[in-house]
Symmetry: C2
Subunit: 447 residues, 2 copies
């Protein structure tokens, strides 16, 4: 294997990661003939992370929140996309190592984002369910739906209880939105799908270590989100941590236990910088220290943007910017401009975070929105949330599909994507079925 990037006399910018930051940067440089852009990503698509929870709860199909990278850059002859894993960087040689081989760079941009932080709890790493990629969201959907199928067939009430109860850890937007949606499914579509089950048995717990939900948001958001969730029947436990999980019982910091097979882990993220950087630049939560130009400390040719970057912006953000979409998008955009300036030997511009606000949805007509000068909640907040997310999605067709799905789900109270899609396994039961190891959805059989 060989990445086969054509050699040109253009300045080569290698971008690792096609999330919000990396994609925006690549788009900024896509029509600039002075650059050769190499976009390296683990998958062949961009993922719209804020809507994972809707995939996990059968509200949206996975493809409507994904966008193929090659469809974005089809006409840009200076953009080279390589779908592979990056195994490290060697800054002295100006090279990165990938599973396809070595790629050299003039400028390297780390836009590698963050992944679930399990805080090194081994049992939780092994048994809890994360939701930090679309494939994890699909796996979560399969698991939740399969639980109810299994609940029909178990012999004891205890087993049924363990299957039907869900414990969500983490009171950020992911945990709040997931709990709200599960609570609505419990009241609408699930009892209709499973008339043989008693849904009074289904408990949804939200465990939050701090004393409020949606901690970085306003007091209004703290109060309203908790109120909405309690109204929907979610049991919110504040100032509590999960200590351990054996696959059947969740052990809490206050000594209590919860009987559930399902521990969904949305308790935090940890940045995933490339291996090979000097130790001293990797700080808290795995984030890489950068200056106001997103240059990694000690480098002029290696940058980091988005969740993986830790930029201290004066007194305003002493612990770095929030690890959400906006800083990533803004830094990607500015870095595009700065690289153009660099090439023209003009001075670069410092990044300043423009906080456009934040929001979370809890259920039908229930959301909280914090804008810089206005905090509100309820139906208007919910409509704002819908509009903002719809417009942020990449691709006109995706927008259209999501609009139809949302409208449909709203009117019908019916998440119609309740599909457990798995590999077709060889089934020894049918008399004539050939035994075969099918190509799976996951593992590529290619020889």
């Amino acid at each position: 294997m060989n990445p086969n990037i054509p050699q040109t006399d253009r300045t080569r910018v290698v971008i690792v990661g096609a999330g919000f930051g990396g994609l925006r940067l690549a788009r900024m440089l896509a029509d600039r003939r002075e650059f050769q852009v190499v976009l390296v990503n683990r998958t062949n698509y961009h993922e719209f992370q804020p809507l994972y929870y809707q995939v996990a709860t059968a509200g949206l199909e996975a493809n409507s929140i994904l966008f193929p990278l090659r469809a974005v850059f089809g006409d840009c002859e200076n953009v080279h996309i390589r779908v592979t894993n990056v195994t490290g960087v060697r800054t002295a040689d100006k090279e990165i190592d990938t599973e396809l081989g070595v790629i050299t760079y003039d400028y390297l941009v780390m836009a590698t984002g963050a992944d679930t932080n399990f805080f090194n709890q081994q049992n939780i790493i092994e048994k809890a369910l994360p939701m930090k990629s679309v494939s994890e969201a699909i796996a979560l959907r399969n698991r939740i739906l399969q639980n109810f199928e299994d609940a029909l067939s178990v012999e004891t009430v205890d087993e049924r209880d363990g299957l039907m109860d869900v414990v969500v850890v983490g009171g950020g937007p992911t945990g709040v939105e997931l709990c709200g949606t599960l609570a609505e499914m419990k009241r609408t579509v699930l009892p209709s799908d499973y008339p043989e089950l008693d849904f009074n048995m289904m408990q949804i717990y939200l465990i939050q270590s701090g004393d409020v939900l949606l901690e970085p948001m306003s007091e209004n958001a703290h109060k309203k989100s908790e109120e909405y969730l309690r109204e929907l029947g979610v049991e919110v436990r504040l100032n509590t941590r999960v200590k351990d999980f054996d696959g059947k019982t969740v052990f809490m910091s206050d000594g209590t236990t919860l009987r559930s097979n399902n521990l969904i882990w949305a308790a935090g993220v940890r940045a995933t910088p490339l291996a090979g950087l000097p130790k001293e630049v990797v700080g808290r939560g795995g984030r890489v220290t950068v200056n106001r130009y997103n240059q990694i400390e000690g480098f002029t040719d290696v940058f980091a943007i988005g969740d993986v970057a830790m930029m201290v912006e004066g007194d305003k953000w002493p612990e770095g910017h929030p690890q959400v979409a906006q800083p990533a998008i803004q830094q990607g955009k500015l870095l595009g401009k700065n690289l153009i300036r660099l090439l023209k030997k003009q001075p670069m511009q410092e990044y300043t975070y423009s906080d456009l606000g934040s929001m979370a949805t809890i259920g039908r007509g229930l959301a909280v929105v914090d804008l810089p000068f206005l905090k509100f909640s309820g139906v208007l907040a919910w409509l704002t949330w819908l509009m903002v997310h719809l417009m942020a999605i990449v691709g006109v067709k995706n927008r259209l599909l999501i609009l139809i799905n949302w409208t449909w789900n709203y009117l019908s109270y019916d998440n119609s994507l309740r599909l457990i899609i798995r590999q077709k396994l060889p089934v020894g039961n049918f008399s004539n079925m050939q035994e075969r190891v099918a190509d799976t959805l996951v593992v590529n059989k290619q020889s």
Copy 2:
């Protein structure tokens, strides 16, 4: 585990399989209080098989051709759905064995359909790609797209050739439709996605053992389908069989070879009846001999419908009906009526196949349609094909989503679902990534 089907004094009809036949039968009986219907299926959804090829070629998302069974029967208190594999039948005890345990029946209906027939060729079983389930169609999509990614990085022209070439075996509707779509992708979306590859290198072969394509259709369909495919650049080889395949080279019956890593097997199907039937009732192609009431030979309480059933209808269908949707749907509907008649001690009605015609699409504006009194091809045939398939899909929302996708793809020449969705594997490369075995899309981690 225990299937936990409630005991009632109603007549219990156990239907195995929720394809076209089983689903139709279950719907016929769903509101009949005199019956208790147990619908056993391997997945929790019905699959619309005629559009697998569009999932495989990134034209439709999988979920738009699937329909959750529980959404169909949500309000029917006499229908019990169980998602499990059936391992056999014991007719003397009136019981079937499932992975959840034993289910007893008053009437059993085998609607188990058919699967790919590899004709016991071991290398082909192991290395060829079938397309007889939605998960196989998704795996095929992943494989085809991954091939072009890999083609960018291989070192030799020979390897690139092997990745880009596709050999499709079987000149039925599946093979014809797949080749037509691949040929269009070769001309439109693929060169735009992969400007670094030379698509003159990509060859698409269609191998057919007989001397015409779409053999059961009219002479017009034979001629036109071949003509359309050749115009699109597909190399059609008639009167040829595939003898062997080592994963890189396809060995043909005429002694020639084709260099391709991709052998797509659509050469035939084999019925998949339940194990445990008397040997003498299982005939050619695994099909079970039934009388005109779909009763399996020698039984009054065990029925077979659809692809798995072999009904000789006088001189008209001496080798049974074609293994397509229409006979399955018609038999499901009639069997529903006949079971009601049986209960009322009225005589059952004999099944007569009403051939509504058949059709296949080859590409944009290219299709062939055989109606009982009219054969036609071209744009009108293509529009007919689109309308018929759109109306046949279960679910208003699915119809809407498919209509949007088709319109979009037609106008934009862009199959926007070019996503390689796989499990997120633990990547040792990012310095802070925890090693973990994630829940896969396929295997349920549940303990």
